[in-house]
Symmetry: C2
Subunit: 173 residues, 2 copies
Amino acid sequence: MDVYQCIRSRRTVRDYKPDPIPQELIRKILQAGRWAPSSSNTQKWYFIVIQDRDTLATLGKIATQGPFIGQAPMAIAVVMDDAPRPQLDAGRALQQMELMAWSEGVGMCFVGVREADQQKAVKELLKIPEEMELITLLPFGYRAESSKSAGTPRKAIEEIVHWDRFGERVQPV
Amino acid sequence: MDVYQCIRSRRTVRDYKPDPIPQELIRKILQAGRWAPSSSNTQKWYFIVIQDRDTLATLGKIATQGPFIGQAPMAIAVVMDDAPRPQLDAGRALQQMELMAWSEGVGMCFVGVREADQQKAVKELLKIPEEMELITLLPFGYRAESSKSAGTPRKAIEEIVHWDRFGERVQPV
């Protein structure tokens, strides 16, 4: 799929068909994360691919913001280890993963695991070393028909884009 | 350009041809940022498009990590305003912008503006309100021939990808 078409058509997906994601596509999603740029090329990320049904079900129970993880055929936990800019680098990597997946018909949803007790429970379950930072759980799957919505609205472009300096809303000729 | 091809061929570009970026492509880059997902769809970003030559030259002097901004035909300052996850949301938006640009032959480079005095100087120059967070300056341009390198290496996929739990390097059958 063309890049612009992919970006414009992408939707966050929380309702998944049970169909498994082909292993070849999982590899491409992981490669998309691996080839993302990172601060000083530090690549301080780990991607844990979860396909075990019991583990997915347990994650869905722990992450109350994302119970739908329990229904996803696959999830990726993004973990950062002592990175100079963990959130920013993770954001760049997971966005490449999301676009890669979407270009082949698979959607995902960012699930934050922000509460301390949730972090602890997920880290224990996935055996993530304590000193590492769990950024998110990303359930992936083919979009169920029921969830094909129009998508969330966006601010007008004039509201967020300024020209040459903040507050200048008119493009100079 | 196809998404996977775009992700795999993308390179960080620090050496630009002087050729201007077509206004239509600038619009598509901004749309790519605008359509990025953000925490609870808060969209707390501003994108300041800088094409004024004097401003670009001054930014190149302030941002000692990225003097090449002074040679770029265009730069975008990414600014976050009171976002729940400023770095992560910015990372997602700027990655969509980078892939959009690259799919039409234009490269960019993330320039951090981390020192307090640099932040202050850039904010003053671009009239960015003090309470907002300047995440990065992104110079964009067509890649000069001289900079067509093989790209930075990546860790082996076996090093960063684990299966079902951290430390499990072999995919279960």
